[in-house]
């Protein structure tokens, strides 16, 4: 199950508590070619809507916001050398793996269909 935030991050849940956080295909397309990603470290904790890093493309630099309360368990190291992987496939090339500390917050996020409507309305 994939959930989306209004700030265009997704969280793809692997099981009840673990998931992958990344940016949506819509966000990747809007940003254009990504040239740099600033990510936190393993073990860092963030609360919902807190900024956990930044992403920079040839067009713009944007902060990244935690979709839910979470703890980072793994950072996608491949992005350091090749941030363009995000443009190739933002879902496969997640930013980091996290443990969700308050799974009730997932209900506040959008599902695939609701997010598609949200993006259509924002353009």
């Amino acid at each position: 199950m994939v959930y989306y935030s209004k700030t265009h991050e997704y969280i793809r849940m692997e099981n009840e508590t673990e998931g992958f956080v990344g940016i949506s295909a819509f966000a990747a397309k809007q940003l254009g070619n990504v040239v740099y990603v600033d990510l936190p470290e393993e073990g860092d904790e963030f609360s919902q809507a807190e900024d956990f890093g930044a992403i920079e493309s040839v067009k713009a630099a944007s902060d990244l916001y935690a979709p839910v309360d979470m703890e980072v368990t793994e950072v996608n190291e491949a992005l350091a050398d090749n941030p363009r992987l995000i443009n190739d496939d933002p879902m496969a090339n997640y930013l980091m793996k996290v443990t969700v500390t308050d799974s009730s917050q997932l209900e506040e996020l959008m599902d695939e269909a609701a997010y598609a409507d949200f993006c259509a309305a924002s353009h």
Binding site: V58, K59, A61, P83, H123
Partner: protein, 502 residues
């Protein structure tokens, strides 16, 4: 010009041992010159410097200069940058040997004329900005922002109010605002814009508390919209004990019409290289004077140039002592060696004195008229997200017809084929396809009409032959640089080009 012949790097033109000068032997033995220097500080190999004859060097740089683009070559509608024409009289004044030959550390008693010019510009900017005092020392706009924020920090600290660490910036702000706040050691909090492009007062109100040091605003903002709620915002900010900072990037339409000081701003910077017609955009250097309202002047950087009739001992001063350098005890200290970019200051003073008060008061309304003229002529083809009268600039959200696949980037690159500098694109971040146009007051109606015609022709191409726009540009000396690769793996030296990046 033969592009192939002259596209070489100066390093590629180098031949071992070739030189463009002949100097007599210095007579100083080279042996032992390096004795006593720790080996860790010595080069392992000689620097790679090009070896060329004079004619080759002259041709190389002359040909390169013809590939340059500036306001002197063509229309440059770069939003947020005020690329107005720089009158040549400015250059004449700045290059006068009495100024250009002056050593930066000439004592005040022997540089009264230069200090007088500096002092007059300070006073003129005070009048224009509605401020009590100005310093001209900061070297650029962002440097001015940093200086201004340091003044604000110093003000709070002087009152023992040390808990103020936050700076509030609108989501439409120039990127330099949050960057300067971060460099000043402050935290950044973003405030949202309303659908009409102005700051949302209701969003701002709950953010204001005793942790806020300042609110930074640009007025008119980066959408070219005048912030009508500024008196109320200033009142709320001051009630919360914070200060108002004015980003002077968009001062041009306000010249002589409205003053930041009257709107309630406490600290401001001015980009001389935008509003006051000094070279800009690779042609710099810039200059970012900072003004403050009464009660903050003691925190300005040192030295300050003051005019005086008597000295510290109350003894009348002579002609050679009228203008003096002052180092106040509460000053935040030095932000620059010497007194900033003096030659830039002279150009700005020349501009102000040439136009006079009446001329300056015409600049803003003309810049506003030109922007609205272009906006109205193009809004049938380009999407105008915020209707109404703009000030000196406006933002389109790309082409109106989104079905063609042609993006703002494509439109900007197609403009290069027509001999125009591209407008600012993908800023501000409020829209996905921002295209920001600022014609300035110095362009004629004929120039604007031609530009409108070209912009319309690009919109037509986007509908009829979109591939032409998508594959643009075809005419410039360099057509399709790989900007992503350049950002990821920049090659900055000839050595890196030859041997790859280490």
């Amino acid at each position: 010009m033969n592009r192939e012949l002259y596209a070489s790097l100066v390093f590629e033109l180098s031949a071992p041992g070739r030189k463009g000068y002949f100097l007599p032997d210095s007579g100083i033995p080279a042996d032992g010159a390096l004795d006593g220097i720790p080996s860790g500080l010595l080069r392992e190999k000689d620097p790679q410097l090009p070896e060329c004859d004079e004619l080759t060097v002259v041709r190389h740089y002359n040909n390169m200069s013809t590939n340059n683009f500036g306001v002197d070559t063509g229309f440059y509608p770069l939003g947020s940058c005020t690329m107005k024409y720089n009158p040549k009289i400015n250059e004449e004044i700045a290059s006068h040997p009495a100024f250009s030959g002056l050593h930066p550390y000439t004592p005040a008693c022997a540089s009264q004329g230069a200090l007088e010019a500096y002092w007059h510009l300070q006073k003129a900017l005070c009048e224009i900005g509605g401020m009590a005092e100005f310093t001209l020392n900061p070297f650029a706009g962002a440097h001015g922002e940093l200086t201004g924020l340091m003044v604000i920090r110093r003000y709070h600290e002087s009152r023992g109010d040390t808990g103020r660490r936050k700076v509030i910036v609108p989501d439409s702000a120039h990127g330099t605002n949050p960057a300067s706040a971060a460099v000043a050691g402050l935290e950044i909090v973003e405030v949202k814009s309303r659908p009409d492009g102005t700051v949302d007062v209701d969003d701002l109100r709950p953010l204001l508390d005793e942790s806020v040091a300042a609110v930074m605003m640009t007025n008119p903002n980066t959408l070219g919209i005048f912030e009508k709620n500024i008196p109320e915002i200033a009142r709320l900010v001051h009630e919360a004990g914070a200060l108002m900072y004015y980003d002077g990037a968009n001062l041009n339409p306000m010249l002589g019409v409205a003053r930041p000081g009257d709107m309630g701003f406490d600290v401001m910077h001015i980009n001389l290289h935008k509003t006051f017609s000094t070279p800009h955009g690779g042609g710099g250097p810039g200059s970012g004077p900072v003004g403050v309202r009464k009660g903050l002047e003691q925190f300005l950087p040192s030295p300050r140039v003051v005019s005086r009739q008597v000295n510290r001992d109350d003894i009348p001063v002579g002609e050679h002592e009228r203008y003096a350098l002052e180092y106040g005890p509460e000053s935040l200290g030095s932000v620059s060696a010497t007194l900033g970019n003096f030659a830039v200051q002279l150009r700005a003073l020349s501009y102000i004195l040439t136009l006079g008060a009446e001329g300056l008061m015409e600049a803003g309304p003309l810049a506003t008229l030109n922007a609205n003229y272009v906006k109205e002529k193009l809004k049938a083809d380009y999407l105008l997200p915020i209707e109404g009268v703009c000030k000196h600039e406006f933002v389109f959200d790309g082409l109106r017809d989104k079905s063609t696949g042609v993006t703002t980037l494509n439109v900007a690159k197609r403009l290069l084929d027509h001999g125009y500098h591209a407008p600012t694109i993908y800023f501000p971040l409020l829209f996905h396809e921002s295209l920001m146009i600022e014609p300035t007051e110095t362009e004629s109606r004929e120039t604007l009409d031609k530009f409108v015609e070209v912009m319309r022709s690009i919109a037509r191409e986007a509908r009829e032959t979109p591939e032409v726009v998508i594959n643009a540009p075809l005419n410039p000396p360099v057509t399709h640089p790989d900007d992503t690769e350049a950002a990821l793996h920049p090659i900055l030296t000839y050595d890196e080009l030859l041997n790859g990046k280490v």
